[in-house]
Amino acid sequence: MVTVRNPGTRLTDMTEDAAQMIENGAQIVKKMGLEARERAFLTDYLRSSECPLKPGSEEATGFWPFHALYVRRLAAAGVERGRSPPPPKPSRKVTEPFPLPAYDLRLANPLFVERRVRDRRDARELERQERERREPEARRGREVLAAYLHFLQKQKFAKLKKLREAQRNLPIYQHREEILAAVRDNPVVIVAGDTGCGKSTQLPQYLLQAGYNSIACTQPRRIACIALCQRVSHETLQQYGDQIGYQIRFEKRRTARTRVVFLTEGLLLRQVSADPLLSQYDVIVLDEVHERHLQGDFLLGVMKCLVRQRPELRLVLMSATINIQLFRDYFHGKAPVIQIPGRLFPIQLNYRPISVVEAVASSGRLNPAPFVRVLSLIDDRYPAEERGDLLMFLSGVAEITAVADACEEYARQAGRWIVLPLHSQLSVQDQDKVFAVAPDGVRKCIVSTNIAETSVTIDGVRFVVDSGKVKEMSYDSVTRMQRLKEFWVSQASAEQRKGRAGRTGPGVCYRLYSEDEFDMLAPYATPEIQRVPLESLVLQMVALGLPDARRFPFLDRPAEDSLEDAIRSLVQQGALTADEQLTPLGQMLSQLPVDVTVGKMLVLGSVLHQMGPVLSAAAALSVQTPLTNRAFRDPDCLANLKPLFSSHGDSITLLEAFVSWLQIKVTGKVRSRAWCGERGLEEQRFYELVKLRRQFMTIMEESRLLPKPARLVSAADRVRRHGELSQLRAARRELQESQPRRRRLARGPHGVGDSTEQQRDGDVADIEFQMRTNARDLQPGSDQVFHSASKPFVVLHPNSVLSFSPETLEIADSDVRVTAGPRPPRHSVTSDKHQLLAFVLVCDRWVEFLVSEPAAAQQLLARAVTLRRWWSRLLQTRLDNLGSEEQHEPEEESTLRGRLVAALIDFFHTDVFYSHKRLVPADLDGLYCREPEAETDGRLPPFIRYDCLISDSALSMEEETCPYCDNSLSTLPVERIVHWIRCIFEHKKTKDESAAAAAEGAATEPRGPVCEECSASLEGMTGIQILRHRRTHRPIQPAGEG
């Protein structure tokens, strides 16, 4: 360490030192040989800022090997280095070049190297230039450097030329002018061509070259947006420029200079909501329209309307050569179709149906034998030196695992195969393995889902095995359940699969079904719009200002029922009013690019200030469960997992697991992978969860439901945040390209193979809940039956936490009070300990509550109504306040929230005894004395109907005084309820409560909430923590004796 006493002299000291060193250096150099001097000269040159090769780059490191080679080559040719004839003076004028000098390879290089003289008056620079021209080591060095740079730039030029040739060789190139003319003359053009014809990469470039300035290309998959952007920017030499960009939900590469942008269908739809005319684009290209995704179909309808409004806009539809007639007809035959023949070699087709006996293995799963047989067949028929890989199409991960394992077994014996599974749940690195080239004499056997049908293209495939099956999400609008179901593929898909064998040469396709079966397949796959819930779609339509979803110009109409159901469900969720207008909540939800239920969960979390856990829970419910099958089969895993199980159900258990995992990650004492292994947890899912959670958070911040992260105050916070960030970064790195799973899959082995029905996730705010009936008939561990509003007799998945500890849901005998009533005794089991599977309130026409004390019942109802009122008021305030830039939330909001939370907790601890039963349609017949109608004078909220049940009239009440305000109460039940609601809503306390509060308040003022059982302070706890604390005082009772 040097201590500088006088900083003022430091600079001069150093220059003198440096000058001295240079002087010494020059002395040393003179003493060195020519070789070494040349080396020193070149090293200096390569390090200079004028060197076009940056130190450490591939190009720079390649120089010295080239140097050695060059020296040897010139020595062999007998050419003296450093004595090249002087190059002719550069000139633009055409001069007579002949006669040419005798051959010297250095004269075939148009490049030369010379340091620039920046200032002609600078004698030192001129001297250096002169020296470099004169001194042999400089002449040699510059010569070899020029040769190397020429060699490099020729390589780059060759790469460019090759690229252009490849572009010209694409089938679509023949149709370039035709396409551009069609686009110029028609508002809508359809380009149909099979994979490999180059339409996705070339067409945007053609449009760009033709002078269109703002081109949007939609893709169904986010990954395709990025890949195409990379490819097209490479091809347009804009790899490091910004003319070509992409934009997906959480990422974009786009600037004001961007002329072509690849974006997802969903994103373009969102842009429509901000700019209904999409005036920023002059051409819109919809790619892969044949895939018939929900968003794609919707977008097509929106575009059809848009083209009418903006005649100058150009719309190009790109499709595989599947069902082109459908699109042609959609535009009334006015859109010209340009067909581009694919590049396909002949494919030999073999039908090899599997016999019924052989179809299923003894274990009940798919029998891999017929698949393995194809491997041995190929080995028998085709010599190993003939290259060509095998691609198998199976329906799901479980099937892939079964077949891949069996093939692996065969491969071990044969030694001529490498078996590679391929499905969307593999990590990117594992997926990439399928693109690697197999060694000579060995074939790849890729066992894939339909991902390899259109999305992923693998070169070198010669053989295809098609199982004829595919797993797709199917939706039952009556029960509102989605599940993964195995279907036969369509003929179009089967052809697509077959085509994969003929991309690089003639191929062979084995279909493991008969020709008759093929003939019976549907010609085209069912479009997604007819298979999935339409809530999000309808909500988006309304938000886009399309008032009536029923009149939308669908390419294929969805079933009327499913449309009506979606509308009804949105009304129920409070996203639409009864006359189908968008509510503020609906407006909010339409902005959130997530499922309506998840969206509502997030909004609710924001309103109740419970963002942390809600974000985690929403993300946990949206990824596949990290709990693998092993977690439940392996006793050790199960034992390790037990502490994580929550009696509040699967969602909270998932949350617990995630939080514990995070803690393991943060403390770093135990390797998280090992920790997961011991519990049968799939760590990858947690990473996905973290990423999705982060994405949800971004969404919430963008929509201002969550304050943007403010500057952190304490150092400890910063450190913690830094830790979290690096953790997140690590997690993101790992997940760089894997797509988050938005669809909910049925839980089961690996989350996919099973088609067990799963309840839709309970939405906290949703006024549906599932409740167990007839608890006493059930033995612990037996199948418990649940009822939901839309589907009776639902069985919990055997891997649900609640199936593992059914006693949670049991009512202990001690809590049961049997009352003599008019109903059969079966229904008269009243208890305050009936467990709700999902939180909260009351339901429509499907469950009846019978409360033994009418007054208590009315009060309960009043409180429920109040809760709902507070909730909607709080939501409204929250949404109103979003516009303001206030840092702190308004006081009104925080008071309201405080009340709501307190009342909610209170409500959960109501000691009212009641029984309940599920209503069946037969019950409904005798239930009402008149049609339920909405209250007309506005004193009761619209969701309560009264005076319409037959038994209502029988109720007569005794006169009483109100516990809240001392006024006497009416004898009419309705009047009483209205009165109570008013009292509670105005937040009056009952006399007892006020007295108690006053007494305690005097003793310990100020005080926060306190647990009534153990007097521990609940200050600062979240609602869930309070509930959890209170639960500790109510141990789960062992099950009663039946």
Partner: protein, 124 residues
């Protein structure tokens, strides 16, 4: 609109400024193979490529395959033929360089005047 969300942050084209104006380019088309590109400079001293210079006034492109920070190697597309003055690319199938650039059609006409070591490159 009350709310905006992540997906709606599309930038509208900003008014043209120095930053948004695309770099000036010069069109280049090879008279033999038809290769058509936009280049960044024409002349002998490309301003972007350090100490590398040319002995012929060439059509020069920035290295399109490397980031600007990593490499400033000039890629020569080609130059005008010394004899016919038509632009020709540097591909060995289109032109030959020996002290000057000759497009192959011209070079073949004067093949006899080239050093014998180059004659087989002229495809005669």
């Amino acid at each position: 609109m009350l709310l905006s969300c992540a997906s709606d942050t599309t930038k509208t084209p900003a008014p043209a400024s120095a930053d948004t104006v695309a770099e000036e380019t010069i069109p280049f088309t090879c008279c033999v193979c038809g290769l058509s590109e936009q280049c960044h400079y024409r002349g002998t001293r490309p301003p972007f490529s350090g100490f590398v210079q040319l002995t012929e006034p060439g059509y020069v492109m920035r290295d399109p395959f490397s980031a600007r920070a990593a490499c400033q190697l000039p890629v020569l597309l080609g130059a005008d033929c010394t004899l016919c003055a038509r632009a020709v690319c540097q591909d060995a199938g289109c032109s030959v360089f020996y002290t000057r650039r000759f497009c192959l059609p011209c070079a073949r006409e004067r093949a006899a005047e080239f050093p014998p070591q180059l004659r087989d490159k002229l495809g005669t």
